[in-house]
C-alpha cells in the first residue's frame, strides 16, 4: 500500500542527481581532451566502461539486482578516479582502479549510498598500493610529449606579465592530473552543483577557509607546495560526495574544516601527493559519527551544550589521533597495510553482515 505523500517533485530522483554531477564534470573532460586528446579520452572511456561493467555484473551477482547499477553513479566514480590520475597512466592500471573502486568502494558495502568511503579515492588508493612503483615514479608525471594543446598566454592584452600568466594558469594549464587543467572549469562545475543544490556550500567553504587559513597562519606557509587545482577538485567533487559526507549542516561545516586541517597537517608532514585523498578518506570514516554528534536541535528542544562540546572534543581528538597515526604509517611506508586491512574487513563485513540488509534502502 502506498503511503503519503502522493506527489513528488519532477526530475528529482537519484539518477537525476548523478546526471547533474556528470554534467558538472563534463567541462573537465573537455579540458582533458584539449590537453591530451585521445590519450586522456581512452582512459576515461576505459574507466567508465570497466566501472559500469563491474557495477552491473557484481550488483547482479552479489546484490541480486542490476537495475540500480544504471543510475549513473558508476560513471561519476570513474570520472573522478581518472581526474586524480596522470594522463599517461597505463590503461590496465586505470581499469584495475575502476574495478576496485566499484567493487571494494561500493558493491561490498551493499551498493549505492551505503558506502562509507568515497569509491573513487578507494580506487586510487588500491592503485597506489598495488602499483606502487608506477604510481610514485617521476616518469608518470612527465607528460610533455603527449600534450595536444600547449598552454599559452590567454590574456595577451594585459601589460602585467605576471598577472596575465597567472590568469592563464587559472583557465588552462597542462600539468598535473587529468582533472586539474582548468581551475576555472572546476569552479564552474562546483557552481553548477551549488545552484542545483547537489552540494551545499558548507563543506567547500569550511574546507577552503581552514586549509588556506592554516597556511596563511603559519610562518613560511608559501613554501609548501600543493596543487590548488587538486585541492579544489577534491573539495568540490570528492569531499562533497553525498554517501560519504555528513548529512546535516553543522556536521558538514565541521567535516569540511577538519578535512582542511588534516590536509594541511599532511602537507606540512611531507605527504607530497596523497594529502587530499588521505584527508578525505580519513574524514569519510568519521562522517557518520559527525552527523550524529552534530544532530540539529530538534524543534523546541533544549540542547545539552556541555555534553555536545564534550562529544565534539573527543571526536576531534580521535580524528587528530588518526591523522598522526596515518602520518607515521606514511613515514614508514606502511600505508598499504591499511588497504589490506580494509579489504579483509570489507569482505568479512559483506559476507556476515551487509548481505543480510541488501534489500534495505539504507
Amino acid at each position: 500500500m502506498s503511503l503519503n505523500p502522493y506527489i513528488k517533485p519532477k526530475k528529482g530522483n537519484t539518477s537525476f542527481v548523478m546526471l547533474d554531477v556528470i554534467i558538472a564534470l563534463l567541462p573537465l573532460v573537455i579540458a582533458g581532451y584539449f590537453a591530451y586528446g585521445m590519450q586522456a579520452m581512452w582512459l576515461l572511456l576505459i574507466a567508465s566502461g570497466c566501472a559500469l561493467a563491474t557495477d552491473v555484473i557484481f550488483s547482479a551477482l552479489l546484490l541480486k539486482q542490476y537495475r540500480s547499477a544504471l543510475d549513473g553513479s558508476a560513471i561519476v566514480t570513474a570520472l573522478l578516479l581518472c581526474f586524480t590520475l596522470s594522463p599517461i597512466t597505463p590503461w590496465y592500471m586505470v581499469a584495475f582502479g575502476a574495478v576496485a573502486a566499484i567493487l571494494f568502494g561500493k558493491i561490498t558495502w551493499g551498493g549505492l549510498g551505503k558506502n562509507r568511503f568515497n569509491p573513487a579515492l578507494i580506487g586510487r588508493e588500491f592503485m597506489a598500493v598495488f602499483f606502487p612503483v608506477v604510481m610514485t615514479s617521476a616518469g608518470i608525471w612527465a607528460t610533455k610529449d603527449y600534450i595536444q594543446t600547449p598552454a599559452t598566454n590567454l590574456f595577451p592584452g594585459l601589460s602585467n606579465e605576471y598577472l596575465s600568466s597567472y590568469l592563464s594558469g587559472l583557465v588552462y594549464k597542462t600539468n598535473g592530473a587529468m582533472g586539474e587543467y582548468s581551475i576555472a572549469l572546476i569552479a564552474l562545475g562546483g557552481f553548477y552543483l551549488l545552484l542545483r543544490k547537489r552540494i551545499s556550500w558548507h563543506i567547500p567553504l569550511a574546507l577552503l577557509a581552514v586549509f588556506f587559513g592554516s597556511f596563511w597562519f603559519i610562518e613560511n606557509g608559501q613554501n609548501y607546495s600543493y596543487s590548488i587545482a587538486g585541492v579544489l577538485l577534491g573539495t568540490l567533487f570528492m569531499a562533497t560526495d553525498m554517501p560519504s559526507s555528513p548529512t546535516n549542516n553543522y556536521g558538514k561545516l565541521y567535516y569540511g574544516s577538519m578535512i582542511g586541517l588534516v590536509a594541511f597537517i599532511f602537507i606540512i608532514g611531507k605527504v607530497s601527493y596523497e594529502y587530499m585523498s588521505y584527508a578525505i578518506l580519513l574524514l569519510n570514516g568519521f562522517s557518520y559519527k559527525i552527523s550524529e554528534v552534530f544532530r540539529p536541535k530538534v524543534w523546541g528542544e533544549k540542547l545539552d551544550y556541555k555534553k555536545r562540546v564534550e562529544h565534539i572534543f573527543y571526536l576531534t581528538l580521535s580524528i587528530l589521533g588518526c591523522t598522526l597515526a596515518i602520518l607515521s604509517l606514511h613515514y614508514y611506508d606502511m600505508v598499504s597495510y591499511l588497504i589490506y586491512i580494509y579489504i579483509a574487513y570489507i569482505v568479512l563485513k559483506f559476507n556476515f553482515s551487509f548481505i543480510k540488509n541488501i534489500t534495505n534502502p539504507i
Partner: protein
C-alpha cells in the same frame, strides 16, 4: 521547510457549491483519541441534526445526523467504524437552537461546542471545546490558521473569501472565552489578496485584527511552525499552546463554530476541495459529513477504479489513499483528490541530507529508516522520532524514495510498545 508547487489556482476562484446528500451516509466514529459510541438504536428513525453517537472524557466528542432517515448499524471499513444512516430525503430536522449571542456565557459556549461535536477541521480533529477551555490562563495571541499549506486544497481560502464577515463573528464570539489581547491571521503570501478584504471587513465590524503574511512553504500551517512564525515562540511538540498564551484555530473550525451559534446547527457539513489531475468538475464543495467517497466520485462524473487512479482523502502530503470507496468524509478531511497512481523510483538512501534540510522539526529522517529496520529503539529515541509531525516533507523530497513515512510510523509504534 520546503517550497512545493501549490496547485491551488485551478480551484481557488471557484465559488462553493453544495453537494446533495447521498442515499447512504457513513458517519465516521473515530475521533481524536478514541471512538464514539452509537446512542441510537439500529433501524430507529433519526431527525436531521440529531445526535447519533458520542464519547466522554477530556477529548469527548459527538456526531450528528446530516439528514433524516434510518440508522442501519455500524460497519467496519478499513479498520475504522462507521455508522450507516439511510437518507429518507424528507429533511425532517430538529428545531434549530437559538442563542442570544450578546449575553451568552463562557460555559454555554464551551458546552455547545461539545454538544455540537465541533472538532478541529485541519486534520487532527482535536475537540474544540477542549482547546478553548483555557481556564484562567492568560491568552495573548489568538492565531487564525489560514495557512492551508497542503497543495491543491483551497477550502479554507474560499471560506475566508466568501464568509469573511461570518468568520469574524465566530472569532468575536470565541474571544468571549479566551479574551486574547491580539488576533492574528496567518496567511500564506500566495493568498495575500485576502489581506485587504479581511482588514476592511474587520474594521467594519470593529474587531482589531492583524495579518501575518507567511512564506509559501510547507508545512507553514503546521501548528508549531505557525506559532513560531507569528509569535516567535518555538514550543516543543506535545505541549499545549495555551500554556504559552496561544490559541490556534483553523478557518474550517471557525466556520463550524459560526454555524453552531448563528444557525443553531451542529457540525454536519464541511467544505471539501475536489481536485487533482484525474478529477472532473473540480472545485470547493459543501459536503455532508459521512458522504462516501464513491458517491462523491459519481457526482462529479467519475467511477471508482483503483487501478487507474489514486483517490486521496485529505491533502497530497498528509492525506491517506482511499482503499475502500465507501469510507465517509470526516470532520478533518479538507479534500478529495483524484490523481494518477504515484510511481516509485526506489534507490538506496544516498545520504544526500535533503530530508534533514526540509524537516520542519529539525529531525534526521533517514535515521528513522535505518533504525526502524533494525528495530533499534534506543537510537529511534535518540533521534527523536516522536517529535515528527508526520508532515511528509522528507518523503516528498527524497530522491531515492526511501520509505521514510513507513519507517516513521513503525518507529513510533516500536517506541509506544516499550516504556522507554
Amino acid at each position: 521547510m520546503i517550497h512545493i508547487p501549490s496547485l491551488k489556482s485551478t480551484t481557488k476562484k471557484i465559488p462553493i457549491q453544495k453537494l446533495a446528500a447521498p442515499n447512504m451516509l457513513y458517519l465516521p466514529l473515530t475521533t481524536y483519541k478514541g471512538t464514539l459510541s452509537t446512542i441510537v438504536e439500529k433501524d430507529s428513525y433519526v431527525k436531521k441534526h440529531q445526535k447519533v453517537a458520542a464519547s466522554e472524557g477530556v477529548f469527548a466528542s459527538s456526531i450528528h445526523a446530516p439528514a433524516s432517515g434510518y440508522i442501519r448499524g455500524e460497519v467496519n471499513i478499513d479498520n475504522q467504524s462507521y455508522l450507516m444512516l439511510e437518507n429518507d430525503f424528507k429533511e425532517v430536522a430538529i428545531p434549530a437552537k437559538q442563542f442570544t449571542i450578546n449575553n451568552i456565557t463562557e460555559d454555554e459556549i464551551l458546552s455547545t461546542l461539545l454538544d455540537f461535536g465541533i472538532e478541529g477541521s485541519g486534520g487532527a480533529k482535536f475537540p474544540t471545546h477542549t482547546k478553548y477551555n483555557t481556564g484562567s490562563k492568560p491568552i495573548d495571541t489568538f492565531i487564525i490558521n489560514a495557512a492551508e499549506c497542503e497543495p491543491y486544497l483551497s477550502a479554507d481560502y474560499t471560506l475566508l473569501k466568501n464568509y469573511t464577515k461570518q468568520l469574524l463573528e465566530a472569532i468575536q464570539l470565541m474571544q468571549k472565552v479566551i479574551k486574547a489581547s491580539a488576533i492574528v491571521f496567518g496567511i500564506e503570501k500566495q493568498h495575500k489578496e485576502l489581506k485587504p478584504l479581511i482588514l476592511q471587513t474587520a474594521k467594519n465590524q470593529d474587531i482589531p485584527v492583524k495579518i501575518k503574511l507567511l512564506p509559501n512553504e510547507y508545512p507553514q500551517g503546521g501548528e508549531l511552525q505557525l506559532i513560531k512564525s507569528v509569535t516567535g515562540k518555538e514550543i516543543p511538540k506535545g505541549s499545549i499552546p495555551a500554556n504559552y498564551g496561544i490559541v490556534v484555530s483553523n478557518v474550517g473550525t471557525l466556520w463550524a463554530i459560526y454555524n453552531a451559534f448563528y444557525k443553531g446547527t451542529p457540525y454536519t457539513n464541511r467544505i471539501v476541495t475536489i481536485s487533482g489531475e484525474k478529477a472532473e468538475n473540480i472545485g470547493n464543495y459543501e459536503v455532508a459529513i459521512g458522504t462516501p467517497v464513491s458517491y462523491i466520485l459519481e457526482t462529479i462524473g467519475l467511477t471508482w477504479n483503483a487501478t487507474s487512479q489514486t483517490v486521496i482523502l485529505g491533502g497530497p502530503m498528509m492525506g491517506k489513499a482511499v482503499q475502500q470507496p465507501e469510507i465517509g468524509i470526516n470532520k478533518g478531511s479538507g479534500g478529495i483528490l483524484i490523481i494518477p497512481n504515484p510511481t516509485n523510483k526506489r534507490y538506496n538512501c544516498i545520504q544526500c541530507g535533503y530530508c534533514v534540510d526540509v524537516c520542519p522539526q529539525h529531525l534526521m529522517p533517514m535515521e528513522f529508516a535505518r533504525y526502524s529496520t533494525t528495530e533499534d529503539i534506543l537510537q529511534l529515541k535518540n533521534f527523536h522520532v516522536n517529535d515528527c509531525i508526520e508532515c511528509g516533507a522528507c518523503a516528498y523530497i527524497c530522491p531515492s524514495d526511501v520509505p521514510l513515512m513507513n519507517s516513521i510510523f513503525k518507529g513510533k509504534e516500536l517506541l509506544k510498545a516499550t516504556s522507554l
